[in-house]
Amino acid sequence: MYEHDVIVVGAGGAGLRAAIAAHEEGADVAIVSKLHPVRSHTGAAEGGINAALREGDSWEDHAYDTMKGSDYLADAPAAETLCKDSPKETIKLEHWGMAFSRDDDGRVSQRPFGGLSFPRTTYAGAETGHQLLHTMYEQLVKRGIKVYDEWHVTRLAVSDEEKPEDRNCHGIVAYDVQTGQVEGFRARNGVILATGGLGQVYDHTTNAVANTGDGVAMAYRAGAPMEDMEFIQFHPTTLPSTGVLITEGVRGEGGILYNENGERFMFEYGYANNLGELASRDVVSRAELTEVNEGRGIEDEYVHLDMRHLGEERIIDRLENIIHLSEDFEGVNPLDAPMPVKPGQHYAMGGIETDENGETCISGLYAAGECACASVHGGNRLGGNALPELIVFGKRAGHHAAGKDMEAAKITTGKEGEYELGEVDSPVELGEAGIGEDAVADGGTAADAGASVSGADLVQRAVEDERETIDTLLEREDGIQQAEIRERVQKSMTRNVNVFREESALKDALRDIREARELYQDVFVADKSRTFNTDLLQTLETRNILDIAEAITLGALARNEFRGAHWRKEYQERRDEEWLKHTMLSWNDGRPELWYKPVILEGEDKTYEPKVRSY
């Protein structure tokens, strides 16, 4: 068994920042990640980092934009924390040598982005995430922080008190991909989940193959609630054939969207009469699909994004990476022709419920970055707000886990504050298939049978559970393989739980997920080797995809309103009197339990009164 003060799971922006922060506080910290840090999907972020750095801008304006962008489902203490901390964290990156684009006076460049009242998106060409990730990994190397790379974390070692709020997280269990060994990692102070996105729940996504929502699913099964899972961001400009992202920076710099008739539809059809292409992402994605659905799409599938009028010099200076992406992955040179684009899954606004210090309701368990939900983004994330989230909340979680004195959080977690129970009309049974029948189905808390056992014993018990699960998967000689199960879920989610949602389709998705869960009972791993067994790795990931797909769909079915990225055919209005609350799902003996907690709109100095959201 390995042992450290703080264990960080995942090595993208949030994980690296958390590890550096814990190290700054003197903790013995290690990162465990299924990818080498520089392979993390933070590297694919393009647009930039929102930070109120300049005269005429303020963190208050940034917070206002964020709350409005969230469609009033973000919690003000979290959003304000993001906006207040972002400037110094962004400049910290500059001090670490990050290669930001520069203005003539030598200061870091900023540009306009969707839904922002000031051009505050700080960028490095159209490769800001790559520069951020590598800069932060450099700082990790400088500090000699230990990384266990290509170790896939499979479960948390959490005690099994009845209420999640009474539980403690003592460590993790991980599978060494290279050798096949399963080992425990005891965390003396805390575990920080920073596992990133969950886009692989869909089949058209900007997310990496590795983004299977492992941390969210793991924390959920250990008792930490998932929050606002129905809020999935579909980015309006992804390449149709692959889902590769074309940054919002293209529109920020002046790129224009056209339909098949060459009409600038954002204005001509009144989707956003003020901001046009720079309305927030949910608005633009719906506009594009409406164009396609009404017969004005190109090849009935996509629209055109044109940036030729910006001129070659400006494009190369600020958006060069886009030329390469469009050429390599769509065969279109955007200097000569408009790029085909359509909406694609991009980001999960929801995730593991945390407060503004990254703490979950389970003692010693933290989450930061995309896998977490504080909530900063509420119903819709603004472009340029994901990267500051990584550095701001990664740092805070790292500090807190390392024992630094911090101001008490204003956000409550678990059922500690006000809450109400919810109900949803599902056509099928929900949750685990075949509870208690099968080791493969297990994966939650490590039972301590009511006895008080030491943290190390608890981790060891979780290791043994995991070994049993893996042995079972490897011993089976026939059944079904994960690729089929995964593909079914991904296709159903893209078909039924996309930008436009309606009750019957959501129920179809729940049926498909149920069937997939049942098939998963007979999943087997054909590759019997212990060496670099990606068949096994993917089989373990697919389990996470199942739990998350169900949660997204369930949340979408429960929320009878239209807010942010969540559009419902039957309910075309935002219903503030009923729905200024977060959708919460807890894993209760293998079944999802639905409940709600109120959103916090009271900020430090003001209350963010919900207004009609127009751009």
Binding site: L35, G43, V244, E437, E477, A526
Partner: protein, 293 residues
Amino acid sequence: MSTQVPEAVEEESATETASAGKQKRDAKKRERAERVQEQREAEAAEKARSADDTFHLKVFRYDPEVPEKQEPRFDDFHVPYKQGMTVLDALMWARDHYDSSLTFRHSCRQAICGSDALFVNGSQRLGCKTQLSDLSEPIRVEPLPHADVVKDLVVDMEHFYDQMESVEPYFQTNSLPDGELDEQRQTRENREKVKMSTRCIWCSACMSSCNIAAGDNEYLGPAAINKAYRFAMDEREGEDMKQRRLEILEQEHGVWRCQTQFSCTEVCPKDIPLTEHIQELKREAIKNNLKFW
């Protein structure tokens, strides 16, 4: 077509102790799962047969643990072609439809994570960025040369990482501004100067292509030297640091080993002018040494 290792001997499943009713249910479920699996395999075979166009890949296979794969071999896969399909897409299709033990690293699918550098038809390329239609068949896909093979197309990257980390690959300066909101200034020209060097994605295609690195295990290699270049040329670090960086680069296994064969530059998927960067550092080193004459 499938290249699976022959089925192992059937083992008793773990349901022995379960009740008869449960056994029956389980058996039924298992049957259904098997039916779905068989259907999938049949569909895949049909797709490959009926596709207008298929691509023939010959893929290197090796697994130290599996008797049939201990002796390296090539397996043939015929993958139905869709416009825009890349080598990585084809490998994923083959894995998901023919042989789930086919092993390779990949993640972002868009040439930024640097996981899938492979040896394709005799040169180092990123699988995700290489169109099948640009290659002649059969397409040979092998692991990167000059690295130990872990399994199939996966190589051991430790040596590459060690070299990258040996050049103090992090920003260092003695003159940071005092305020936590004060930026260091950098001219647009200087940012432009280091821009290409910062694009490295650590895929190790360059290292694998380099004859010198193949013969001298201690040679820093093009990627690590480029990483040092990125800092040495950054005006924010200052002259003191540049001295220190040149000293590191001038060591026995540093820049002077490069024989300007340009193989690294040719294979770099991010078009970094690696050889030029190495040459420029050689010139800087000479200038630097002359200063002390």
